[in-house]
């Protein structure tokens, strides 16, 4: 059984909470005491029906204001797969929280109210999903019951969205007409929409092929920690611990270490203390090498003939997340890329993107909270980077305010030169 991480975005009005509630309820992942608790709260607030949003809006402030502020994580499993839902807010002022919840997702669900069609928010959610290179997007056209389950309504939205999506970079786009409230096409097939031949949402989530989404070609191991027991039993043991960020690492492979450039072979690989022959992306490993070469935290192990760029200059898309400050030319920040910390300065503000229209404002000089734009950065020391579109791990970084220590920016590398 494998794991699928999915991100949902939207506001209560889109039926997002109803949809999640339906998935959890129909997969028996809502417990009786949780259901009783939200029934009581709904009743106390004088609401007519049980408010399923209370399942994911766990903070006092969220319940008081009736909005989703931060990412909630929910878990459910079917016999075929285990799922982690990152339920994120949909409003513009919480874009940073959506980016947080979506950064590791395999799939994003973009909800559209069939009555309203594509609105600004749907475009923004799709754009953020594509910016973060979530490999699969499901456009859930919800509330079909309120448009008489009309195929034409679905078809029009599908065509309009497909056209819009050509401007984005979306590898896999699926449209499902549904009624989360009535359960049509969520878990069970709809009896009201015989014209729809595709899968239900749950079936789609269960059967989707995700094993090849990760980069299985370019071997990358950012070194996290050097394990040296210095005990009699393991006197000469020197293991390089890290999480495989790309490619399949195999015992016997010829590898190089950056920045030294020295090469050797993999003597053995261990996962959680046990030897294995090979390791895939996402696996936390310890690698032992044939020759003793100088490697420490922050270095990168890769193949001799397939190496990341070693660079101090990157072009990147930045999502700015700070409340009190702006990103401008000359801004100096701490940067974390793989297992490296360094400092960076903004050399050039290329443009600011209007995330609703995708218009590029090249006259822009700054990024404010929740704004996204392209910048050129100079870093104090070389990093070992790939383009984000090639590798989500070696192509991403965070920016941290050196005075407040708060994470203020998410970066995706477009170019390394």
């Amino acid at each position: 059984m494998d794991l699928l991480r999915l991100a949902t975005a939207g506001s209560v009005d889109d039926g997002k909470s109803t949809l999640i509630g339906r998935l959890l309820y129909d997969s028996k992942s809502i417990f009786e005491d949780q259901m009783e608790a939200i029934e009581t709260t709904s009743k106390n607030k004088g609401e007519e029906s049980v408010n399923l949003a209370l399942l994911t809006d766990g903070l006092r402030a969220e319940r008081e204001q009736g909005i989703t502020i931060d990412v909630a994580h929910r878990y459910f499993a079917t016999p075929k797969r285990k799922f982690i839902i990152g339920d994120t807010p949909g409003h513009t002022q919480y874009t940073r929280n959506m980016v947080t919840g979506a950064s590791t997702a395999d799939l994003a669900i973009v909800l559209i109210d069939a009555r309203n069609g594509i609105v600004e928010q749907s475009r923004r959610h799709a754009f953020i999903a594509s910016l973060l290179r979530i490999p699969h997007i499901v456009v859930a056209i919800n509330k079909m019951d309120l448009v008489d389950f009309d195929e034409e309504v679905f078809e029009n939205i599908r065509q309009e969205f497909t056209e819009f999506a050509t401007k984005l970079d979306v590898p896999d786009l699926t449209f499902i007409p549904m009624s989360a409230l009535l359960g049509d096409n969520v878990v069970d097939r709809s009896a009201n929409m015989n014209w729809y031949q595709g899968a239900t949402l749950l079936h789609h989530l269960e059967e989707l092929h995700i094993a090849s989404d990760r980069n299985m070609v370019d071997v990358r191991l950012p070194v996290q920690y050097v394990i040296r027991p210095q005990t009699d039993a393991h006197h000469d043991y020197r293991g390089y611990a890290g999480t495989v960020a790309g490619g399949i690492m195999k015992v016997g492979d010829e590898v190089a270490a950056l920045p030294s450039g020295l090469s050797t072979r993999i003597k053995s690989i261990e996962v959680a203390g046990k030897p294995v022959d090979e390791a895939n992306p996402g696996t936390a490993v310890v690698v032992l090498l044939e020759d003793e070469i100088d490697i420490s935290r922050g270095d990168m192990i890769c193949r001799v003939n397939n190496q990341p760029e070693v660079t101090q200059d990157v072009e990147a898309m930045i999502c700015w997340m700070a409340d009190g400050s702006q990103l401008t030319e000359g801004s100096k920040l701490a940067i974390k890329h793989t297992t490296n910390w360094a400092r960076t300065i903004v050399k050039d503000m290329r443009y600011r993107l209007n995330i609703n229209t995708l218009h590029r404002d090249e006259a822009a000089t700054s990024l404010k909270l929740n704004e996204i734009g392209r910048v050129r950065l100079r870093i104090t020391k070389p990093i070992f980077a790939d383009k984000y579109r090639r590798n989500r791990t070696t192509g991403s970084f965070i920016l941290v305010d050196e005075h407040t220590n708060v994470t203020v920016g998410a970066g995706m590398i477009i170019d390394t030169e």
């Binding site: 059984m1 494998d2 794991l3 417990f31 009786e32 005491d33 949780q34 709260t41 766990g58 903070l59 006092r60 402030a61 319940r63 502020i69 931060d70 990412v71 909630a72 994580h73 929910r74 878990y75 499993a77 797969r81 285990k82 982690i84 980016v99 947080t100 950064s103 590791t104 094993a211 996290q224 920690y225 394990i227 040296r228 027991p229 005990t231 039993a233 393991h234 611990a241 999480t243 399949i248 996962v271 959680a272 203390g273 895939n280 996402g282 696996t283 936390a284 310890v286 935290r297 997340m321 974390k336 890329h337 791990t393 991403s396 970084f397 965070i398 220590n405 708060v406 994470t407 998410a410």
Partner: protein, 301 residues
């Protein structure tokens, strides 16, 4: 040879990555160890993260003094077997020193007093990172918490001002006096934990398996008769076959009726249950709708 990561393999790797990252970037981390299954899992993952080297940080038990003796025995055996360094932060000591005052009445519990003992120990040992075994499926406030959860110099959690947390790029930067709570098994469910305990043949305290015990009913929960608990008039004990789904302070951790004496039976029971583990067994979460959020803001685990 499998070419893809199973879901438990993915969770294991995620946790090990987090534990190594903390060991690399913090000066003085420690792992909170209660003897409960989640902290056993965290310790086991830490041992595996650094094998064959020992773990490069101590474990800390916040001891309310109201323990199940089986759990303390278990803790001491773990320390002997693994060679980890154990630090005990004592609630009894905080009471004796007059730093906290014990609740009285029948629902008296030292659960909340743990926060003071914990924060004092953090200050005394200058810990800058504390691993905890909290899981997001446990409780609605925990479902919102980051893996790296920032605490200010008062140990407070600010749920509305959490740092964005992206990819696997964790930001542990902080000023002196502030610290981070680290939750490596955030994404595990109760069932994931049990399956791992079974697959990896991990030892857990006996009280997790069904056994005969003197218990009495309060608020629909079975509480164990211990020397520490005050019984109200009319509350009577009886001997029942029970087991514990969580282990905490003996005065506020409820037992559940269960015939499950083996790990397979426990897993079957957990898979079929319709009540969350904290809902079934934790009196401390029942005091208010946002009880956990409020305690966490004060510095609780």
């Amino acid at each position: 040879m499998k070419t893809k990561l199973s879901h438990v393999g993915a969770l294991e790797s995620e946790a090990i990555h987090i534990i190594r990252e903390v060991a690399a970037e913090f000066e003085r981390p420690a792992l909170l160890f209660s003897g409960g299954k989640d902290s056993i899992l965290c310790l086991e993952l830490a041992l595996r993260a650094f094998a064959p080297a020992p773990i490069p940080f101590p474990i800390m038990h916040v001891d309310t003094g109201h323990n199940f003796p089986e759990v303390i025995d278990f803790r001491d055996r773990v320390v002997e077997r693994t060679g980890v360094k154990l630090i005990v932060a004592s609630v009894q000591k905080a009471i004796d020193e007059g730093k906290v005052v014990e609740d009285t009445g029948i629902n008296a519990s030292r659960n909340r007093l743990q926060t003071t003992a914990l924060l004092d120990a953090i200050e005394e040992h200058k810990f800058d990172a504390l691993f905890g075994g909290a899981r997001r499926d446990e409780e609605k406030a925990r479902a919102k918490e980051r893996v790296y959860s920032f605490r200010d110099e008062f140990g407070q959690w600010d749920p509305k001002g959490q740092r964005p947390e992206l990819w696997n790029l964790y930001n542990g930067r902080h000023k002196p006096g502030e610290h981070m709570r680290i939750f490596p098994i955030s994404n595990w469910t109760e069932l994931d934990v049990w399956n791992y305990i079974k697959d990896q043949d991990l030892e857990i305290p006996d009280v997790y398996y069904a056994h005969k015990r003197e218990v009495f009913q309060r608020d629909g929960m079975w509480l164990a008769k211990t020397p520490f608990i005050n019984m109200a008039e009319g509350e009577e004990t009886e001997e029942r076959m029970v087991r514990f789904r969580t282990i905490g302070d003996a005065t506020c951790t409820g037992a559940v009726d269960s015939p499950a004496t083996t790990i397979d039976q426990v897993i079957e029971e957990v898979g079929a249950t319709r009540i969350t583990e904290r809902g079934a067994t934790r009196a401390d979460d029942r005091t208010a709708e946002a009880a956990m959020e409020d305690r966490k803001k004060e510095g609780y685990f």
